[in-house]
Amino acid sequence: MRVLERLGHRVLFPRAQTCCGQMHYNTGYQADALPLVQRFVKIFRDKEVVCVPSASCVAMMREHYELIAERSGNHDFLCQVRTLLPRVFEFSELLANKLGVLDVGAHFEKRVTYHPSCHSLRMLHAGDAPERLLRSVRGLDLVNLPEREQCCGFGGTFAVKNADVSNAMMQAKCGAVKLTGADVVTALDNSCLMQIFGGLHRAGQDVRTMHIAEILASHGGAAS
C-alpha cells in the first residue's frame, strides 16, 4: 500500500472483502467457493485495477474463476468475471509489468533470498520480475536459493492433512535457506512464508520472512 501510494496511486481497501475461495475450491468444496467468488467479483468489478499481494490467489482467479462462473450457469456473472480478470494483478506483476516500475525507491540493507512460490512460477509465470524488483532495492544483497523451484510443502490443507510429508518438504526448504546465510527470505505468497517461518522458528533459526511488499516498502535500511 505504501509502495503504491509512494508511486502516486490512490489505494482503496474495500472492507467487505474476505477470501478468494481458493481453500474451499482446492479442497473439494467447490459449491462453497461459488458465493466467495461472487462476493469478490461484486466488490471489485467497478475498480480500475485490483492488486492482490498473493500469487496463489491470483492463480486461483485466473485458473478457475471463469470455469466456476460457467458452471454457475449465470451468463451475466460470467461476463463480469471476464471483464474483471484482465484488471487483476499480483503485486510484483503490477509494478514490473503493468506499471513498468522496477525501482520503487526502497532501501533495505540485508542479505535476502527469494523463494519462487509454485503458483507464481508455474501459473503466473512471474519469471524474473520479482528478482529485478529486489535487485533495484538499495543496499539489498540478493542471494540465490539452492533448489529454489522445489515446493515448500505448504499446499493449503495439505499442511495439516499430510503434516509429516509437508514437514519433510519444509525441512528441505529451510535447509536450503540456511545454506544461503540470508537474513531474510521473501516470496510473493504469505502462505509459503508462514510455512517457511514456522519451520525456521521451530528450529531456532534467526532468519526473518517478509513478503516482497514489506521489503519494497522499506526505506530505513533495516527492516521496518
Binding site: 467487505a16 474451499h24 473439494g28 523451484e149 509429516d164 510429508v165 514437514n167 519433510a168
Partner: protein, 487 residues
C-alpha cells in the same frame, strides 16, 4: 464388473503409509539420489529439442482425438491384428483378463502341469495382479526386466512406474541375489549384479515357451504392438517363445504408424532421459519361421471406459507411463512410491487409481499433493494433473455430503464454518476479534503452539506468529478516518 488396481484394497491411507516411510532414511536417500539423476538427464534431453512444446501439443492432440474415437480405433486394431495372424480377446476387468491369460497358457501347454512363463516389464499385468493369479493355479511367472525381477525376488511391490526397484540401492540388491541365487561371494558392482542376472535369466529365455508382455502402444492402422525398453530382455521374451500374450489397456491404441514418430521422441526423453530407447520392439501378427507361432492380444478395460465418459477424467487416459511426474514430484521425492498403496504411484497414481476404482480404496490419494504443478510442467502429453486432483477432491466431498457421517467429519465442519465466516464482513471481523482475544490460551512469547484440532497438525512441526493486536483492516480504517495517505 470388479475393477481392481494392484493391492490398493489392502493398503493404508496415504498419510499413514507416508509417515512410516519417512522414517526410513535409507529408502529416502535412495529415492532422492535416483530421482535427482533421472530429472537431470531428462532436463538435458528436453532442452536440446527446440520443438519440445510442439511435440507435447501433438501428442496431446493425437491422444485426445484417439480417445474421442476410441471404439472405432479399437475395432480397427482388432481387425488388423487378426488379419496379421493374431487373436484378440476382450477383458472387462482384472479377473476376466487373468482368466483369459490362464486359459491361453493352459491351451498352449496342452494341459501339462507346472507351466512357466517369462514376462516383459508391464504395469498393466501388475495392475491386474496377474502374477498372483497365475501362481494360484500353479503357473510360475518369471519377471525378466532386471528391476522387476529384483522386486519379484524380494516379494516387494514396484515403487516407480519405470524404475520399479528405485527404492533399493545396489548393496541391498547384492544381498538379495546372494540369498536367492545362492551366490554368497557376489559383489555389488553393477557388472557383478548384471552378470548374475544374465546367467540366471538366459536359462529362462531358452527354456520357457510362453512369453507375456504389456504394450506401450498398439497401432490401429497395422495391428502392431510396440514395447520400448533398455535391456533387451523384453525383446527376448517377445521373440524366443512359441507363444506371446500381450495385455493391452484399451487406451494404448494410437491411430497411425506414423504417430509413433511423436511418442518415440517424447517417451524415452521423459522416462529415462535418453534420446531413444536402446530397444524399440514392434510386432505384427505371426510370421512362419520367425518369432512366436501364436500371438494373442488381451484388450483390458478395468475401469477405463468409465473414465472415458467423463470429460475431465478422460484426459488421464492419455498417460504413456513415462514416470516423469514421479521424478518431478516433491511429495514422491520424500515418500517414494509405496506410500501410494498402488502400483501406480506419484502424481499420475494419485489421479489414476481413484478414477479406475471409482474412488474406492483410494480416497486419500487426491489429497497427496500440494498442487505445486511440477507434474503438469513435465508431462509429455500435457495431462493437467493438479486440475484433475481438484476435480477428484470435489467428487470425494460431494460423496461425503450425501451422508450424515461425511457431513459431520472434522474437515467438513471446519470448511463449512469458514465458508459462513467468509460470506459476511461482520462474521469475518468478529472471527478476527475472537482470534485476537482467545489466542492467549495457546500463546507463548508471541507465538502460537499446541493448537487444538486440525490446527494441531500445524503446530506439531511449526510455530505460528500470534495475531497482532491491530489487524490490517483496523489500521486501514483508522488511517482512512484520519485522512489516509503517506504522511
Amino acid at each position: 464388473m470388479n475393477v481392481r488396481v494392484g493391492k490398493t484394497a489392502a493398503a493404508p491411507e496415504f498419510s499413514v503409509a507416508a509417515k512410516r516411510l519417512l522414517g526410513d532414511d535409507q529408502l529416502r536417500q535412495n529415492v532422492h539420489h535416483a530421482t535427482d539423476i533421472i530429472r537431470a538427464k531428462r532436463a538435458l534431453r528436453v532442452e536440446e529439442l527446440p520443438d519440445w512444446q510442439e511435440l507435447r501439443d501433438a501428442a496431446s492432440e493425437i491422444k485426445a482425438h484417439t480417445l474421442r474415437h476410441l471404439a472405432e480405433y479399437l475395432e480397427e486394431f482388432e481387425h488388423n491384428c487378426i488379419a496379421a495372424g493374431g487373436e484378440v480377446h476382450w477383458a472387462r476387468d482384472a479377473d476376466e483378463a487373468n482368466a483369459i491369460a490362464i486359459g491361453l497358457i493352459r491351451r498352449h501347454s496342452e494341459g501339462r502341469d507346472g507351466a512357466e512363463v517369462i514376462k516383459v516389464k508391464s504395469m498393466t499385468t501388475d495392475e491386474v495382479q496377474m502374477n498372483v493369479a497365475l501362481e494360484r493355479v500353479g503357473i510360475t511367472p518369471y519377471e525378466t526386466d532386471l528391476a522387476d525381477m529384483i522386486v519379484q525376488m524380494a516379494g516387494d511391490e514396484p515403487s516407480h512406474i519405470v524404475v520399479p526397484a528405485l527404492h533399493m540401492n545396489r548393496f541391498e540388491v547384492r544381498d538379495l541375489f546372494r540369498v536367492k541365487m545362492s551366490l554368497p561371494e557376489l559383489g555389488e558392482q553393477p557388472h557383478d549384479l548384471t552378470d548374475a542376472a544374465r546367467m540366471y535369466l538366459r536359462e529362462k529365455f531358452l527354456a520357457i515357451k510362453i512369453g507375456i508382455s504389456g504394450a506401450n502402444f498398439a497401432v490401429a492402422e497395422t495391428g502392431t504392438v510396440c514395447v520400448v525398453e533398455s535391456e533387451g530382455n523384453g525383446r527376448m521374451c517377445a521373440t524366443l517363445p512359441d507363444v506371446l500374450i500381450s495385455l493391452v489397456g484399451i487406451e494404448k491404441v494410437i491411430p497411425k504408424f506414423q504417430d509413433l514418430e511423436v511418442f518415440l521422441q517424447l517417451l524415452p526423453r521423459s522416462a529415462t532421459g535418453e534420446r531413444m530407447n536402446p530397444y524399440n520392439s514392434l510386432w505384427t501378427g505371426v510370421h512362419a519361421g520367425d518369432g512366436p507361432r501364436a500371438f494373442h492380444v488381451i484388450l483390458l478395460d478395468n475401469g477405463r471406459s468409465k473414465q472415458l465418459a467423463d470429460e475431465r477424467e478422460r484426459e488421464t487416459l492419455a498417460c504413456i507411463r513415462c514416470g516423469a511426474c514421479l521424478n518431478a514430484c516433491p511429495v514422491y521425492r520424500e515418500t517414494g512410491g509405496h506410500a501410494y498403496g498402488s502400483i501406480y504411484s506419484g502424481p499420475i497414481g494419485a489421479i489414476l487409481s481413484p478414477q479406475l476404482q471409482s474412488l474406492e480404496h483410494s480416497r486419500s490419494l487426491p489429497y497427496a499433493s500440494t498442487l505445486c504443478g511440477a507434474c503438469y510442467e513435465v508431462c509429455p502429453v500435457k495431462i493437467n494433473i493438479p486440475e484433475t486432483l481438484i476435480h477428484l477432491r470435489g467428487r470425494i466431498v460431494a460423496e461425503d455430503q450425501k451422508s450424515l457421517k461425511g457431513k459431520l467429519n472434522q474437515q467438513s465442519l471446519a470448511m463449512r464454518a469458514m465458508a459462513l465466516v467468509f460470506r459476511s464482513t461482520w462474521r469475518y471481523e468478529a472471527a478476527q476479534k475472537l482470534g485476537q482475544r482467545g489466542q492467549w490460551l495457546f500463546e507463548r512469547g508471541g507465538y502460537l503452539v499446541d493448537l487444538p484440532g486440525m490446527a494441531g497438525e500445524w503446530t506439531r512441526f511449526r510455530d505460528l506468529k500470534a495475531l497482532p493486536g491491530e489487524s490490517f483492516r483496523e489500521w486501514f480504517q483508522k488511517r482512512d478516518v484520519n485522512g489516509g495517505g503517506e504522511a
